[in-house]
Subunit: 360 residues, 2 copies
DNA sequence: TTGAAAGCGCTACCAT
DNA sequence: ATGGTAGCGCTTTCAA
């Protein structure tokens, strides 16, 4: 197929070692020899065989990324940021999608480990101490994003707890005294045993926020149309009977655990004849780009997704360079997934800000 | 790090070859020997070194995917479909993003080739005969998606031309007699020399559609807010003066070259006080999922994105298996990018359908 | 400064 | 049915 070092060596009448010295800028070679070899290599359009180099050096310059899916802009944007950061440093990414399936995730991780990736960035679906042991036994640097597994692995995410908590005060300051929280269905997720750390932190942040303000907690646990409609109907009723009893004058808002929910609620409001923000306030999480094209502009929490991706790679890069695998300086904690699974020193937290908006 | 065939051979007191036979289900090995070896391998948690295998076999079981970006749901969904199809067949994907940049794309392709990917799926940014030669010299199977390069490479895409043309009649049948087309700015793209085959086909389809119906062609060449506003203002004016002169009673619609534009127009209509579909009809292209959450439901052309991804991989898989690289049975055509660059036998066309909707 | 050769872990082929 | 061994293309070490 393509020319090898051996062939170049033969043509130049030198040894393979010398060709290697020329090609890879090592010292211990005379300038003229080097130039001649480089010249020949160029003429023959020599292309190094990455594979052979990997086998010889034990490094692949490839990191594995095990992500949930590519449908959610949140994930795909993150992957894009990781790819950019990786490529800048000369790394490739092998992408595997787990589709929120624990088995697929594990199989993927195993494949990647066998392939000898230098490091792993995980959007964990699984969790638990057994899982941690498995990962540690791989003996390669691992960084988690989004869901957290344990303090054994550096974790990068927006500070979901803090930002949601702040979002509650933010909404409250805009004059809303009833703030509901629209979220994924925890029971369903938990029955499947999947890791929902990120959503747990978000919800916990909301809960802390309303508690601090002395407001009522109202969590809509699942985002099917019926559940949303149930909630909206209260507002619709209130609106239609506004002349009758002016007692319940509370301004209501819904904080959503991710943007798509806010978009959905917005549309359902429109269908139901509710005006946003006149009849109901709305706020999302992630501030994905499509919000810029939707009227009215929904407030959202801007998680600075790009920087999560970048930091995740940078962290991993550090570990890879250090040869200092995460496992080396680790306390042997078996850490289960639960709401007490909070940030540690091994966690990196990303700044956030509130987007501009008109819906509150 | 991990156990090798050699170690297992030593422990079992057999040769490496025998271990290989056991591990890889080859024949020419006694059942008991095999079982014993497998047993030991399991105990030692043997994991095959993919890299070494690749080097020995010359196959990597990896395909390279050079895509534009991951921000557009259209692309990320496609990548997701490719990943699924690939994994099912035991292939990995190494993902490189070109960001619509010709240099990045070329660099990426070169990297992938050196890495010995077994095949390449390209969302081409570049084009032209020189590019074709470069790709052919790589000597690996290549399939293009989205933008086409030349008939030298199998190409998979929705039938943009046909579907856009049909979309025009579809809109017309709904009673609209003025159908504008909102598109990317061709001049800008062309001045950068990038491949816009897919958009060219879409626009050509629109043009053919209006021509066939004897309607006026109205192309909005660029989707900045001003350009869109320019067009909407005509409708706004018409609406406000509707009582004065009832002469221009034409029902207007805008066909958009991709969904995000339709979403944007919808919002701008809302801001401008125009009702959709009462004052203006709207239709998109791709039918991305977010449309389901937006009210009113925008009509769109459902390109069956998943099947594009699947077919692209299947096509590539065929080429890889055949060892029958695309270059082998090729006429040496230098094919430039232009609107005459139409489908050939080497092209696969994907079925499409119109989504349900309420905006027309 | 250069050459020679031993690996990396696996596959594949030829003997036996 | 099994053993032995020569590669794959590169890096790395030791000798000259």
């Amino acid at each position: 197929m393509s020319v090898s070092i051996k062939e170049i060596a033969k043509i130049c009448g030198v040894s393979e070692g010398t060709v290697d010295r020329a090609l890879n800028n090592r010292n211990g070679i005379r300038q003229e020899t080097k130039e001649k070899i480089l010249q020949v290599a160029k003429e023959m359009n020599y292309q190094p065989n990455h594979l052979a180099r990997c086998l010889a050096t034990g490094k692949t310059n490839t990191i594995g990324v095990v992500c949930i899916n590519m449908q959610d802009t949140f994930f795909s944007t993150l992957v894009e940021a990781i790819e950019a950061a990786a490529r800048e440093k000369g790394y490739f990414i092998t992408l595997i999608l787990s589709h929120n399936n624990i088995e697929e995730e594990l199989a993927g991780i195993k494949y990647l480990a066998n392939r000898g990736v230098d490091g792993l960035i995980l959007f964990p679906v699984a969790g638990g101490s057994e899982y941690v042991s498995t990962l540690k036994s791989l003996n390669i640097p691992i960084v988690t994003i989004y869901n957290r597994i344990s303090e054994d692995f550096p974790h990068i995410d927006v500070n979901s707890y803090e930002s949601m908590k702040k979002a509650v005060s933010f909404i409250h300051e805009k004059g809303y005294d009833s703030i509901a929280y629209l979220d994924i269905n925890f029971d369903m997720a938990k029955s499947r045993g999947i890791n929902i750390y990120s959503f747990e932190r978000r919800r916990a942040g909301y809960a802390a926020g309303v508690k601090e303000l002395g407001l009522c907690e109202h969590i809509i646990n699942g985002f099917g149309r019926e559940k949303i409609m149930d909630y909206l109907s209260v507002i619709i009723d209130k609106k239609s009977s506004v002349n009758d009893k002016k007692n319940d004058a509370s301004k209501r808002a819904i904080l959503c655990s991710f943007d798509d929910l806010a978009i959905r609620v917005l549309s359902m409001c429109r269908e139901s004849g509710l005006s946003v923000p006149e009849d109901i306030g709305l706020m999302g999480f992630n501030n994905q780009r499509v919000l810029d094209d939707i009227y009215p502009r929904i407030y959202s929490i801007d998680c600075n997704i790009d920087s999560i991706g970048t930091k995740a790679f940078d962290k991993l890069y550090g570990l890879m360079k250090a040869g200092d695998h995460a496992q080396s300086n680790v306390k042997n904690v078996s850490d289960n997934i639960d709401s007490d699974n909070v940030a540690t020193d091994n966690d990196e937290v990303i700044e956030y800000k509130f987007s501009d908006g008109q819906t509150l």
